[in-house]
């Protein structure tokens, strides 16, 4: 139930579905290759661009960077756009809020922003390593994969959820589920 001026999640989701389809159609027409929503390859390319500043030979020789091609591309701009779009949307209904520790986190780990920073950083390292091994994240595998009825998407999303649900339960503890 939305009480803070947000949109109905079904409605926003339907619009994302339309956006995904229109994006594939437009990129097929204009670029000759359909672009599907995704995010995690961008982090490989961005990491490669950053490493090029200090060790360009190392990046040039790395097999994975060669495979994914270190450059600014459609998807990297998409991820940057997500940041801008979310910022814009939060200004339209005054929901922009500077937050250093999320309330649910502080209920478990306390209000230290450094503790949260460490948790977020470690979680980010693990999540991206896993996403690259799986070949995608909840956008690329989950949304784009399932939309195309790809078996890889169903398996990957299923495993994202199994891992996530188990660890969330370990961290935040079991509780009475509202639906039982």
């Amino acid at each position: 139930m939305q009480t803070d001026g947000g949109w109905n999640p079904y409605f926003a989701g339907i619009l994302v579905g339309i956006l995904a389809v229109v994006s594939v159609l437009v990129t097929t027409q204009l670029l000759g290759k359909g672009q599907y929503l995704g995010a995690s390859t961008t982090f490989v390319r961005a990491a490669g661009l950053a490493e090029q500043k200090v060790a360009p030979e190392r990046v040039a020789q790395n097999e994975y960077f060669q495979k994914e091609k270190v450059k600014i591309d459609w998807q990297m701009m998409l991820v940057f756009g997500i940041f801008l779009g979310a910022f814009g949307a939060s200004l339209t209904d005054k929901s922009y809020k500077k937050e250093t520790v999320p309330p649910m986190w502080s209920g478990r780990f306390g209000t230290s922003p450094w503790c949260r920073a460490l948790g977020a950083f470690v979680g980010g390292v693990i999540a991206m390593f896993g996403a690259r091994m799986a070949g995608g994240c909840p956008s690329g595998h989950g949304m784009s994969g399932l939309m195309q009825l790809s078996v890889s998407g169903f398996i990957a999303l299923g495993c994202f959820l199994i891992g996530g649900i188990i660890v969330a339960r370990l961290i935040y503890g079991g509780r009475e589920y509202p639906w039982i």
Partner: protein, 174 residues
């Protein structure tokens, strides 16, 4: 041209993610704790509409699919590792960028961690590509292909299950 299109698509995507309120840590972890179904309502709605639209365009010959290979070892192990990190960070890659946009500054640590994670993966890749990343390689398969049925049968069943789940969620006020 491709950069401009990517940026425009991203701005719209980010706008909708924020309006759907799925960028919040509490929504992401709330879902993984199975006490708030907002993000799955959002995702499933997008997937159902997207699958109908994409397969219509495929049938019309206007687009082609971009299926990722199913590799059991990579997707099961990588998927579980991703899930662990997701539950600790509270964001996935796309939503971390969006969360930073709506002022959740702690998401920046997650984004930096993800850059390091990508870099570590690039180092580890050579050692895994001929073993772990080849285990159970089934190629680019889809559900209709495996089940040997028309894709509209799968889409209809998927949409019906999704809508039944939505009705259940609303009944239980999740």
């Amino acid at each position: 041209m491709d950069l401009t299109l990517g940026l425009l698509t991203g701005i719209l995507f980010g706008f909708l993610l924020q309006k759907g309120r799925v960028l919040r840590f509490e929504k992401q972890i709330g879902f993984l704790r199975l006490i708030d179904m907002t993000i799955i309502k959002f995702m499933l709605s997008a997937i159902i509409v997207g699958s109908i639209g994409l397969y219509m365009l495929v049938d019309l010959g206007m687009i082609s699919l971009s299926i990722k290979s199913t590799v059991l070892g990579a997707q099961i192990i990588g998927g579980l590792i991703f899930g662990i990190g997701w539950a600790i960070l509270g964001y996935c890659p796309g939503t971390a960028a969006g969360a930073l946009g709506e002022g959740r500054v702690h998401a920046v640590w997650g984004l930096l961690g993800m850059l390091l994670g990508a870099s570590l993966y690039a180092e580890a890749y050579s050692g895994m590509k001929d073993n772990l990343l080849k285990w159970g390689d089934l190629g680019k398969i889809t559900l209709p292909g495996v089940l040997q049925v028309n894709h509209w049968v799968v889409i209809s069943v998927f949409a019906a299950l999704g809508i039944a789940f939505f009705i259940w969620c609303e009944k239980k006020k999740l």
